[in-house]
Each structure stands twice: as structure tokens, then as C-alpha cells.
């Protein structure tokens, strides 16, 4: 097998398309991570988005309405998580509960909404159109690479870039970072830590809704039970691997998107599909190990002192409040 036969422009284009759901969800995870909430609910929020995107498109015939419904439904589900966290509940158990709830709810709703059981596919269902950028479209390599994606793909990349600016240059971004890093310090200048956390969790729902829509009405046009298949957790690892910066998360997501693209490609060259499908998960585990090794190396450095000091301060403030 010629290894280069699988590496070409089409593969990169496919990467860009496949990276979008992970990137969108990871940007949502980035927001919660920055607010100091470990959000394992990305998976479930994305699944809710995927279902309601199809439902919206099914009811209205308009894929953008599907996107809107996906965002709304995922954001509402995120409110549940936000309430759990706000009440001082366990974010991890709460997040896993959201995942199970999403799986049960979406499977349940397939019947009343679409009148079938299991998965829903209808050739007449209209997905998001691919946008052909006029002039660019005709340019050989660039056209394939930059033109012909759904609006959500462009939005994902744009949000990563805009997010980088917002996180570091907009007051809300700076406050968000302060809340996650030193909640007592943030509270001491009148920032409502609870409100910022609440907003971050709901926004992560919005982004996961978009991610789910890209999955169910752009990459394919159908809803399959549990179709996110761990992408939410892969997005979570992308947040860690990208050090919770928007551009870092973009890079990490590209890596995992590439693993997905390779999956599709390798299937066509005779490797058993089951092995090929493992690729994204294995790549994610490798990335996790890399993150851990990096953190360990850094811990040994001088930053450890400041970090431990920061956590001391946190405890101190917890006692004070």
C-alpha cells in the first residue's frame, strides 16, 4: 500500500469537515474549563443537538431551523447541568447523568417525532447546504480546501479565531479566566462567580448544539441512536491537549479530525473497519498521555509553587466566604 495514496487534498478537506463538530464542542468545553467546571456533559449536549437538528429540519424543511432548534435544546439541557453545579452538586456525576439522559431522551423521542424506531433516515430530509465560495471555488487546490463546506464549518473556525481575541481582550473573557483561576480574587472585585459559571455552561450547550447539528444535518443527514460515539469526550481531551486556548484547541481538534478523516480513507484500502474506527479513540488516549507528561514536567518547574499557592488561596477564600 502506498502511504501517500491516502494523503491528498481531499483528505485534508475531509479533515476540515470532520473537525467541525469536535472543534465546536471543544470550544464549549473550553469555556467551562476556563470557568473552573470539568464538563463531561459535552457528549450528551452534542447528542441532544444532533437529534433536534434533524427534528427541526424534519418539521420545517429548513435546515437552519434545525440548527436553531439544536442550539435551543442543547442550551436548555445545559441549564440542568448549570443548576446542578450551582447547587453545589458533583459536576462529574451530573455531567454523566446528562449524557445518559440525552441518550435515553433522544432514543425515546425518535418514535413520537419521526414515527420510527432506532434511527431515522429519509432521503427527502434537507441537510445544510455546502457553501461554494464564488471565485475561490474554481481555483484548483485552494477551491477544494477552502470552499464547499457547511456554514457550521466556517463558523467553527471563525469562532476559534474570535474566541482567541475574546478570551484575552474582551472584559468577559478576562473575567471568565479570573473566575476559573482565582474565584476568590474575582469575587473580591464584585464579579459574580456563580453567574459567570452559569453563563459558561449554557454557552457550552449552545456550542454543543451547533456541533450536534454539524454531525446530523451536514456530515450526514440522519439521526442514529448514540451517534456522537464519544466525540464529546474527544472534544474534552482536545481542550486539555490545546491547553484551553482557542487556537490550541483548534490545533488539537484538527489532529483528532484528521484521525476521523483517515478512518474514512483507510476503510477504502482494505483495513478492517473496526480497527480503522478505533483510530480516533487511540489518538485521543495518546494525546491524553502527552498532556499528562507535559503537566508533570511543568509541575516540577517553578510554576508549581504559584499553583499550590493559588490553591492555598482558594482554600483560604473558601473559608472566608
Amino acid at each position: 500500500m502506498d502511504i501517500f495514496a491516502v494523503l491528498d487534498i481531499a483528505l485534508l478537506a475531509s479533515t476540515i469537515r470532520l473537525v467541525a463538530p469536535i472543534l465546536l464542542a471543544a470550544l464549549g468545553g473550553l469555556l467551562t474549563e476556563r470557568a473552573g467546571v470539568f464538563n463531561v456533559a459535552l457528549e450528551g449536549l452534542m447528542l441532544i443537538g444532533a437529534f433536534f437538528a434533524v427534528a427541526g429540519a424534519f418539521w420545517t424543511g429548513e435546515p437552519l431551523a434545525g440548527v436553531a432548534l439544536a442550539v435551543l435544546a442543547a442550551a436548555l439541557t445545559a441549564v440542568v447541568l448549570a443548576i446542578v453545579v450551582d447547587l453545589g452538586g458533583d459536576a462529574i456525576v451530573g455531567g454523566l447523568a446528562i449524557n445518559l439522559l440525552a441518550l435515553g431522551l433522544t432514543t425515546y423521542l425518535v418514535k413520537p417525532v419521526f414515527g420510527v424506531t432506532g434511527s431515522y433516515y429519509d432521503p427527502s430530509l434537507v441537510g445544510l447546504p455546502d457553501i461554494q465560495i464564488p471565485v475561490l471555488d474554481g481555483v484548483p487546490v485552494l477551491g477544494t480546501l477552502l470552499s464547499g463546506y457547511s456554514i457550521l464549518v466556517y463558523l467553527a473556525f471563525a469562532l476559534a479565531a474570535v474566541g482567541q481575541v475574546l478570551l484575552y481582550r474582551h472584559p468577559w473573557g478576562i473575567r471568565l479566566r479570573a473566575v476559573g483561576e482565582a474565584p476568590a480574587a474575582a469575587a473580591s472585585v464584585g464579579i459574580s462567580v456563580r453567574r459567570v459559571r452559569f453563563a459558561a455552561i449554557i454557552l457550552s450547550g449552545v456550542l454543543c448544539g451547533l456541533a450536534g447539528a454539524q454531525l446530523s444535518i451536514s456530515l450526514v443527514t440522519q439521526f442514529v441512536q448514540g451517534m456522537t460515539a464519544g466525540r464529546g469526550f474527544i472534544a474534552l481531551v482536545a481542550v486539555m491537549f490545546g491547553r484551553a486556548t482557542p487556537l490550541g484547541v483548534l490545533g488539537a481538534s484538527l489532529l483528532f479530525g484528521f484521525a476521523y478523516a483517515l478512518t474514512l480513507r483507510l476503510q477504502s484500502v482494505g483495513i478492517p473497519p473496526q480497527f480503522v474506527a478505533m483510530l480516533p479513540y487511540l489518538a485521543t488516549i495518546v494525546a491524553l498521555v502527552a498532556v499528562a507528561a507535559r503537566t508533570r514536567a511543568r509541575r516540577r518547574g517553578a510554576i508549581a509553587a504559584i499553583e499550590s499557592d493559588a490553591s492555598d488561596r482558594l482554600e483560604e477564600s473558601a473559608k472566608a466566604i
Binding site: 453545589g88 458533583d90 451530573g94 445518559l100 431522551l105 464519544g230 473496526q274 508533570r296
Partner: protein
């Protein structure tokens, strides 16, 4: 004030279950059915006839055993979300071992296959445990990702090298020899695997309370710094607990194969969501071994009853999934609820 503490331990799950069932009732009403009919059919489906009760226990066995596995990891403060992968490993390896073994006197082949399944489950959990202890890679995520890998690997095994060609379109292993089947109990559909529900939780509770390793694990879970200061090797304790946890999940898989399906079928573990129900049981029982098994049987009853409900009414089976998820959602908030309750219970006994 032991009575107060026990009351608190039961109060939170009870509140959770009540709220979740209420939510389920709302969904049923919205769907245009009567919740009384639905829940009536559910109760009947679960325990209405001897045959239904048997079905409940058959369903509960893997749930309760994986739940126990998850609970033991919880005791040491470790999050094993890989029950599904470990159960797949146990089921597949158990089936393969049962087929590969030469004909042996009756219980021997069964026991060896069970041992192989447990070992496979433990091995599938070993990597994440090691990564967490050595490098600090969160086990929560690695165990979860390995579920997908296990499912795919098992799918490949039964699709290609070990496919039962007589099975037509179904990807599955050959049927295991009848000599390795778990014996049926009397004339019922129950198999000997259900006996584990009466035995394992007590062994686990005993081990946690009465053995040095169990004590050390509980202390590591309660306060790792304290345990290490007391001379406990916390890393060894956590790895050990994760191995036991994986072995129990593997056991759940192999019991399912030897007791019910008599072969590994692709999707056997995942489609029924056994391991996640086990996880819910462990969370619901706040990791108490005996209560975890009780919760596991309760969830099994809910699911089997759900089938009855679906037959009798137009309410879909997944209502049960929603109720289950809602239960742990409430339990997730328990920190707040429980602290408030404990304060009142402990306030009277405290000095």
C-alpha cells in the same frame, strides 16, 4: 447515631427515585397516556408473575455485578467508567475460552471460562489504572474511551476470525459447549449466576470492612493524604481496587454469556446498556456494596417492567432510560442535600 446515618443514606436515593418517577409520569402524561396504567404495567411486567420475576433477576445480574465493580473503585476514589469495555472483554474472552477448552468434568470448564473472563476484564482496566497512578492521566476518560475500542475490537473478532459461520448474518461466536453453561435453577429460567447477587455483595462488604486491604482502600478514598501518612501505599491500593473492579465487570460479561446467551454476539453488552445501569446503581447506592446490588435489582426490574409497559401501553421503553438518568441527576446534587441531613442527624450525637 447510627440510625440517623442509615436514614440519611437511604433518604437521598429514595428522594431521587421519587422525583425521577414523577418526571417519568409527566412524560407519560405529555405523551397522552395514563401514568397509573404505565406504572401499573411496569410493576406487573417486573414482578407480576414468577416468569417476570425470573426475567428481572436475569436482567439484574450483570447490572448488579458491574455496579459492584464500579462501587469498589469508587470506594478508593477512582472513577471506573470502563465497565462496558471490561464487560465486553469478559464476555468475549469467556466465550472464546469456553469454546477453546478441551472437554472437562462439569464445573471445571465453567470455572476456567469464568476465570478467563475475570482476568480479561481486569486486564482491560489495568492500563488506565497504571496511567493514572504513574502519569496522572484521568482514568475517568481513558476507561471511557476504551469502551469504544473494546466494542470495536470485539466486533472485529466476531466478524472475522471467530465468526460462527452457521450464524447467518449475525456476527457472533459459536455456541459454547453445553457443559460450560451455568446450570439452571430448578425449573425456572434462572441460572446459577443469580446466586452471585446473594454472595458477592456480602463478600465485598466483608472485605471492605474486615480486611487490611479493604480498610486501606476505604481510607485512601476518604483522605489519601491521611492514609499515606498512616503508611498506606495508596497507589497500590487504587490499582488493586481497579483490577478488582475490572474483574467484576468481566465476571458480569462472562456470566451473561455462560448463563443466558451461550455465545458472544456483537452488541450483546452495549445494546442493553448493562454497564451504565451498573454505574447508576453504584452512584445511587453511594457505593455501598449491598445497596448497590439492591439498586441493581431495582434497575433491572425497572427495565424488565419497562418492556411489559411498552407491550401494554404506547409508552416507549426508553422512558425507563430517562427515569434512570434522572435518578442520578438528583443524586448528583446529593452533596448539598446530604450535608444538610447529616448535620441534623450528627448534631444530636456530636459532642
Amino acid at each position: 447515631m447510627p440510625f440517623g446515618r442509615i436514614a440519611v443514606g437511604v433518604a437521598v436515593p429514595a428522594i431521587a427515585i421519587a422525583l425521577a418517577l414523577a418526571l417519568g409520569a409527566v412524560i407519560v402524561i405529555v405523551a397522552g397516556d395514563s401514568p397509573l396504567d404505565a406504572y401499573g404495567a411496569l410493576v406487573h411486567g417486573a414482578v407480576g408473575t414468577p416468569s417476570n420475576i425470573a426475567a428481572t433477576f436475569i436482567r439484574s445480574t450483570p447490572i448488579a455485578i458491574t455496579g459492584l465493580g464500579v462501587a469498589i473503585a469508587f470506594k478508593g476514589g477512582a472513577f471506573n467508567l470502563g465497565g462496558e469495555g471490561q464487560m465486553i472483554a469478559g464476555a468475549l474472552v469467556g466465550a472464546v475460552a469456553a469454546n477453546a477448552l478441551p472437554a472437562l468434568p462439569a464445573p471445571l470448564g465453567t470455572l476456567l471460562a469464568i476465570a478467563a473472563g475475570c482476568l480479561a476484564g481486569a486486564l482491560w482496566a489495568f492500563g488506565p489504572a497504571l496511567l493514572e497512578i504513574r502519569l496522572g492521566v484521568p482514568m475517568l476518560i481513558t476507561t471511557l474511551l476504551l469502551n469504544y475500542v473494546a466494542a470495536l475490537l470485539a466486533a472485529w473478532v466476531v466478524t472475522y476470525p471467530l465468526r460462527d459461520l452457521a450464524g447467518g448474518g449475525v456476527a457472533q461466536t459459536a455456541m459454547v459447549p453445553e457443559a460450560t453453561w451455568l446450570p439452571a435453577i430448578g425449573a425456572t429460567r434462572l441460572n446459577a449466576g443469580v446466586v452471585l447477587l446473594a454472595v458477592l455483595p456480602f463478600i465485598a462488604a466483608w472485605a471492605l470492612r474486615r480486611t487490611v486491604a479493604g480498610y486501606e482502600l476505604r481510607m485512601v478514598g476518604a483522605n489519601r493524604e491521611f492514609a499515606e501518612y498512616g503508611g498506606v501505599d495508596a497507589a497500590r491500593s487504587i490499582v488493586g481496587a481497579t483490577l478488582v473492579s475490572g474483574a467484576l465487570c468481566g465476571l458480569a460479561g462472562v456470566v451473561l454469556v455462560l448463563g443466558v446467551n451461550h455465545r458472544y454476539i456483537d452488541g450483546l453488552v452495549t445494546s442493553a446498556g448493562f454497564a451504565w445501569s451498573g454505574f447508576i446503581a453504584a452512584v445511587l447506592a453511594l457505593a455501598s456494596p449491598i445497596l448497590t446490588v439492591v439498586a441493581g435489582v431495582f434497575l433491572g426490574a425497572l427495565q424488565v417492567g419497562g418492556l411489559g409497559m411498552t407491550r401494554a401501553t404506547s409508552v416507549p421503553l426508553q422512558l425507563v432510560d430517562i427515569v434512570q438518568a434522572a435518578i442520578i441527576l438528583v443524586v448528583a446534587v446529593r452533596a448539598g442535600i446530604q450535608a444538610a441531613l447529616l448535620k441534623r442527624a450528627g448534631g444530636r450525637g456530636g459532642a
